[in-house]
């Protein structure tokens, strides 16, 4: 009987430890949110280029060889810049959200448990408890504090993910519209077309040698525009992946401890991390 009694603390600790091992920390959530925040930060230079693209188009109206100083401001380009600042602010707000969720998801509840264990062990020493009792109390306390903070963390994550599920989708969709329709479809397209007109105008009645030189310069300008377009396309793909990944995450918010969650989010994280350098390339 005494042998059994002596073994009870060890058995309790083992059972509690096994229970703790089966709980999965929201590490996958943290990784996804971290990638999402970085993706949104990468969008900022693209929104900045909206006003710049407009000004480049305005300045391309001057004929080659006039050597006029480029205009730094234009009323309508400034208006585009003001609205683009609004898009930047929206992207930044989304990034702040994902950063906050990242902080919540990556909070080390295990450390809180370890600190609590140390406290209880020291208390036990101070009051002269036996070493076996100190060990058992310490382990139980570690589990309880970890479970309590982990439980709080899980509940808040579930709430914070589901509350804004539709809102995240709407904002990302709006940012995709602005990049696809306004930046790529209007700004870059008209800049490219008007630049081509500038070369066509100058090339009229010029010798073949001059036309060849102009063509080289045109190809270089065209490549720059293509690179900007490619960066923006990568951003669109990343934003769409972010939206889908978040929808899956929110749908599974009630079971963040499930083993399937890392597998669910893993492909999105991989995709975002591959796209981020492509977004940052040209702008």
């Amino acid at each position: 009987m005494n042998l059994i009694r002596a073994q009870i603390p060890a058995l309790v600790v083992t059972c509690l430890a096994l229970a703790l091992v089966s709980c999965t920390t929201p590490d996958a959530v943290s990784k996804f949110c971290g990638s999402a925040a970085t993706t949104l930060t990468s969008a900022i230079p693209i929104f900045d280029d909206m006003q710049a693209s407009c000004l480049r188009e305005v300045n391309s109206r001057e004929e080659f060889g006039t050597f006029k100083l480029p205009s730094q401001s234009d009323t309508n380009c400034t208006a585009i810049g003001t609205e683009a600042d609004g898009a930047k602010a929206a992207a930044q707000l989304l990034s702040d959200y994902f950063s906050a969720i990242n902080s919540l998801a990556s909070f080390g509840t295990a450390k809180a448990g370890t600190d609590a264990q140390n406290l209880v062990t020291k208390t036990g020493t101070a009051v002269g408890a036996s070493s076996a009792a100190q060990t058992a109390l310490g382990s139980i306390t570690q589990f309880l504090v970890s479970a309590a903070t982990s439980g709080y963390q899980q509940r808040q994550l579930e709430k914070d993910l589901t509350k804004v599920s539709g809102n995240i989708s709407a904002v990302v969709s709006a940012l995709v519209t602005i990049v696809h329709d306004d930046y790529i479809g209007r700004q870059l397209a008209s800049e490219e077309q008007k630049l081509a007109d500038r070369y066509r105008e100058f090339a009229k009645d010029k010798s073949p040698e001059v036309k060849l030189l102009l063509d080289d310069k045109w190809q270089a300008d065209e490549q720059t525009l293509q690179a900007k377009r490619a960066s923006a396309q990568s951003l669109i793909t990343a934003l769409q992946a972010l939206s889908k990944g978040f929808a899956d995450l929110a749908a599974n918010a009630h079971q963040l401890k499930a083993k399937g969650v890392p597998g669910l989010l893993g492909p999105y994280v991989t995709q975002l991390q591959a796209l981020i350098p492509q977004i940052q390339k040209a702008v």
Partner: protein
């Protein structure tokens, strides 16, 4: 009386931007094409000016389109901002729990060191507590 079909301002502004851009490009294409007889220089200048004015209108409506898109998500942004503040507060709660435990652990170490009467231990424990309190 409300319109039968609600106007989507983003779509309408975008369509106008595209229309003015197309008109501007049509003028430039006409101006830059070969004509027999050639277009007089003063008329070429006017055509270019008109094409640029049309492109300015396109820029104006592009700005309007972006603004309309952003206007449509203002309530979404407000909700996200609120939840973000709540999430940050929740991290604060978890940090407070950790800090309280750390302070208590450091304070207990100091008390134990004082009771044992070991000066070196007292200094070490006091330093650790001070660091925890200012962390």
């Amino acid at each position: 009386m409300a319109p039968a079909f609600p106007i989507d301002q983003t779509v309408e502004a975008g369509n106008l931007a595209d229309l003015f851009n197309s008109l501007s490009q049509a003028l430039d294409d006409f101006r830059l094409a070969d004509h027999v007889p050639p277009i007089p220089t003063d008329q070429l200048g006017r055509l270019k000016d008109e094409a640029q004015a049309l492109e300015d209108r396109a820029h104006y409506f592009t700005a309007q389109a972006i603004g309309a898109t952003l206007q449509s998500i203002q309530s979404d942004l407000a909700n996200i901002k609120t939840v973000t503040a709540q999430a940050k507060a929740q991290v604060g709660v978890l940090n407070d729990v950790s800090k309280v435990i750390s302070i208590a652990t450091s304070a207990l170490s100091l008390g134990t060191a004082i009771a044992a009467g070991n000066p070196a231990s007292v200094v070490s424990a006091a330093t650790a507590l001070a660091q925890t309190l200012t962390a």
